[in-house]
């Protein structure tokens, strides 16, 4: 049994891992730059998927699995997705037992709402603040084990680098914020450090704390990444100072409709083109259709004027307040102008279904890992993936026996990775990446971005590492000469069976290399995309 596990990140995946370990009696450290209340997970809105079948629609975990695979255009590990969806009802029931105030039906069962890419109501929710509600309950649950000494929190600490010894991750080097001490902490490591928002400063719906630097540094230390070209643009976001603000998919799940306005003509383009799921097609499809409408000169609006008073009051009151905070508009009466915005990174650290990385003693879960979502994530699956992924990573890590028996120690030397990319560097690189990795991509656009990134100078190891991971994102998009999920190539608009492979990025000898790896095959999988 593991003696001490270091968890990097105190958001949903990190808390879930900590709780799982503590319940098994295993000690862990919860290391984070800010406290859990500041984690990006509190921003999650719409809900968490589980085939609880409380709405009398005959939903099954098999259908959840199938729709998650199809939503991800068959690029996720089918065995991992099967585990995720099969355990989802237990995950959500456990959260309810911890006290997450989910909306409920009159009979007391959990109420479920419609979400994109799913034919059944499957998304458990607490109005449209589900992430905040789940985080509050998990923070309290973990606190019990902090008091018992099983979970040690190290807030205001940043990850500098992994300590890799003889092919094993023997611990982490962390630094206390505001110029504090640097410490080497021994033990296996679970990474739960979030997506790559820091590569797109001010352009995403996520936390502005994320710099992307630790991920980049770990990449240059030999950690493999996968599917980096798969970046989710959420259809309904608005620009607010310093970032983009999400308007939850729940708005459409509860009846909101998208239309484009051009020369005074209003078109409900999603309903026209996709009569079955309409506005609730998977996010990649909706964002792409919006892009084409906008390219034709249309302005896109989210029309929630048909939503009933009862639904506003019981399920969306917080969403309305949020919109009215930023617009002089009332969504009950006025359509809201929206645009797609970067929201989620399906790609990330390459892990198998047990959440093991390519380095012994190192695991990853949550948005920082590539697992579960393939080429496009369904709404409601991110929090599920974070909680279940954290549990799975903890379960796997708990059985790890260390080969290195180093102890904790203060580090007084100078670490070349103890630095940060400048804001100017990160902004410049973000603009380049946005051009190359937009909703619709072309070879010439990606090639131009690659040339621009390669030409960027760097002033320190953090910038050098970020440059390498940015190149890996672009090479991945360049190499995938097809369209699949969030990766749409206008020069290759079709999906090819030959590309049903994971894009794997590796840094070796100062060079970035991208290859394609086979996915585990399932014989019972009828869909042969």
């Amino acid at each position: 049994m593991a003696d001490m596990i270091n968890i990097i990140g105190a958001g949903l995946a990190g808390l879930s891992a900590a709780l799982t370990l503590a319940e098994k009696g295993i000690r862990c450290r919860l290391i984070s730059a800010q406290s859990s209340e500041r984690a990006q997970s509190v921003l999650a809105e719409g809900g968490i998927n589980a085939a609880l079948d409380t709405m009398g629609e005959g939903d099954t975990t098999a259908l959840h699995c199938e729709e998650t695979m199809k939503g991800g255009v068959m690029l996720a590990d089918p065995y991992a997705v099967e585990g995720l969806t099969k355990h989802a009802p237990d995950v959500v029931r456990k959260l309810a037992e911890l006290g997450v105030p989910f909306n409920r039906n009159e009979d007391g069962s959990l109420m479920l709402r419609s979400f994109g890419g799913q034919k059944k109501k499957r998304t458990a929710f607490a109005k449209s603040s589900t992430g905040k509600m789940i985080m509050t309950a998990l923070i309290d649950a973990v606190r019990r084990y902090e008091a018992e000494g099983l979970v040690e929190r190290l807030p205001r600490h940043r990850l500098i680098r992994l300590l890799i010894n003889d092919g094993e991750c023997a611990g982490v080097r962390v630094k206390e914020c505001c110029g504090g001490t640097v410490r080497d902490l021994a033990g296996a490591v679970i990474l739960a450090c979030g997506g790559l928002n820091g590569f797109f400063p001010s352009m995403t719906t996520g936390t502005t704390t994320n710099t992307g630097t630790p991920a980049a540094v770990m990449f240059t230390q030999g950690l493999l990444f996968a599917n980096l070209e798969m970046i989710q643009y959420h259809p309904t976001t608005i620009a607010i100072p310093g970032k983009r603000c999400l308007i939850s998919e729940a708005a459409r799940g509860e009846g909101g409709r998208l239309f484009s306005l051009k020369d005074g003509e209003k078109r409900y383009f999603m309903e026209e083109k996709y009569p079955t799921l309409g506005n609730l097609m998977p996010r990649d499809v909706v964002s792409r259709e919006m892009f084409f409408e906008m390219r034709r000169g249309g302005e896109i609006f989210l029309d929630m004027t048909g939503i009933t008073e009862e639904v506003w009051e019981g399920k969306l009151s917080d969403l309305r307040e949020e919109i009215m905070h930023y617009f002089p508009l009332d969504p009950k009466r006025d359509p809201i102008p929206v645009q797609p915005g970067i929201h989620y990174f399906m790609g990330g650290i390459y892990v198998n279904r047990l959440h093991e990385t390519n380095i012994d003693g190192l695991y990853a879960a949550g948005e920082c890992a590539c697992q579960y979502h393939g080429a496009n994530r369904l709404g409601g699956n991110s929090m599920l993936g974070a909680v279940y992924g954290g549990m799975t990573a903890a379960q796997t890590a708990s059985g790890y026996k260390r080969r290195n028996h180093n102890g904790d120690r203060d580090f007084t030397g100078r670490d070349e990775y103890d630095c940060e990319a400048s804001a100017e560097f990160s902004r410049s690189m973000g603009y380049i990446l946005r051009e190359g990795l937009g909703i619709v991509r072309t070879e010439s656009g990606i090639r131009a971005a690659i040339e621009s990134v390669e030409a960027l100078g760097y002033a320190n190891e953090a910038e050098k590492a970020k440059k390498a991971l940015a190149e890996a994102m672009l090479y991945s998009a360049f190499g995938r000469m097809e369209s699949r999920g969030a990766h749409y190539r206008e020069d290759f608009p079709e999906t090819f069976a030959g590309f049903k492979k994971t894009t794997v990025s590796e840094y070796n000898g100062g060079r970035v290399r991208v290859t394609f790896a086979d996915l585990p095959e399932r014989n019972d999988n009828a869909d042969q995309i």
């Binding site: 500041r38 037992e97 911890l98 105030p101 902090e146 505001c178 502005t208 100072p241």
Partner: protein, 230 residues
């Protein structure tokens, strides 16, 4: 509009605070958080102001500070809404300063630990909406800043524990109830002077009075206002 920011800085807890001033041209359509971000890559590029920030949409509580003497979130303070002229930014005063506008708010988490703010057994679903409202607490500390009864290290833990405790009390099974009621009475009910300053300052707009009524009823008067129950 032209704003003169006066920012109280401090290099470390051991150093003395000092004030820096800088002029900032803006159309007003941004927040204090946006201005601090820009100032850190322009006027203060060589020595950035240390301040906490994360969500930028008043959902995480990181950027709480004193803005013209009033505690609030920097991401919720629009420049166009502030009086023209000088805007003074200071760290919250009831918490130890780490550097510049960053303070150590761990006393809130320590207090919650001391209170025993968790459930041991399965929650009882709350049908009143209290658990939902209480769960929205950001742990930003603004309520403690204005509270006449709270000081760090005291036995009265303030509204920053009222909200989490109210969530737990609203959902507590009988096996957890007794423990939570006792801790609540000791660390909140007895020390609260009912100034309700916290109600007006909460950036999340949590209805503190409602939490107070519900938790007092359950913990002190042993009655729960649950729909269908007395």
């Amino acid at each position: 509009m032209l704003i003169r920011f006066e920012i109280i800085r401090r290099k470390s807890p051991a150093d003395k605070p000092y004030t820096v001033s800088v002029e900032y041209e803006t159309d007003g359509e941004e927040t204090v958080a946006g201005a601090l971000t820009e100032l850190n890559v322009s006027a203060f590029a060589d020595d950035p102001i240390e301040w906490e920030s994360s969500c930028r949409q008043k959902k995480c509580g990181a950027c709480a500070m004193l803005i013209n003497g009033r505690p609030g979130l920097a991401c919720d303070a629009w420049l166009k809404d502030l009086p023209e002229g000088t805007v003074r930014l200071e760290p919250l005063k009831k918490f130890p300063v780490i550097r510049d506008l960053t303070v150590d708010r761990s006393v809130m988490l320590d207090n919650l630990k001391q209170l025993g703010a968790w459930l041991r057994d399965s929650a009882v679903p709350d049908t009143t909406g209290v658990a939902y409202d209480a769960s929205r607490c950001l742990q930003c500390g603004c309520c403690l800043e204005v509270c006449p009864n709270f000081y760090a290290g005291g036995e009265f833990f303030g509204t920053a524990v009222l909200a989490p405790a109210s969530r737990l009390i609203a959902e507590a099974p009988d096996t957890d109830g007794k423990r939570l009621y006792g801790a609540y009475s000791e660390h909140f009910y007895r020390g609260c002077g009912k100034s309700l300053a916290c109600r007006d300052i909460c950036p999340a707009g949590i209805d503190m009075e409602r939490l107070l009524v519900n938790s007092n009823a359950a913990a002190v008067w042993k009655r729960k206002f649950r729909r269908g129950k007395k």
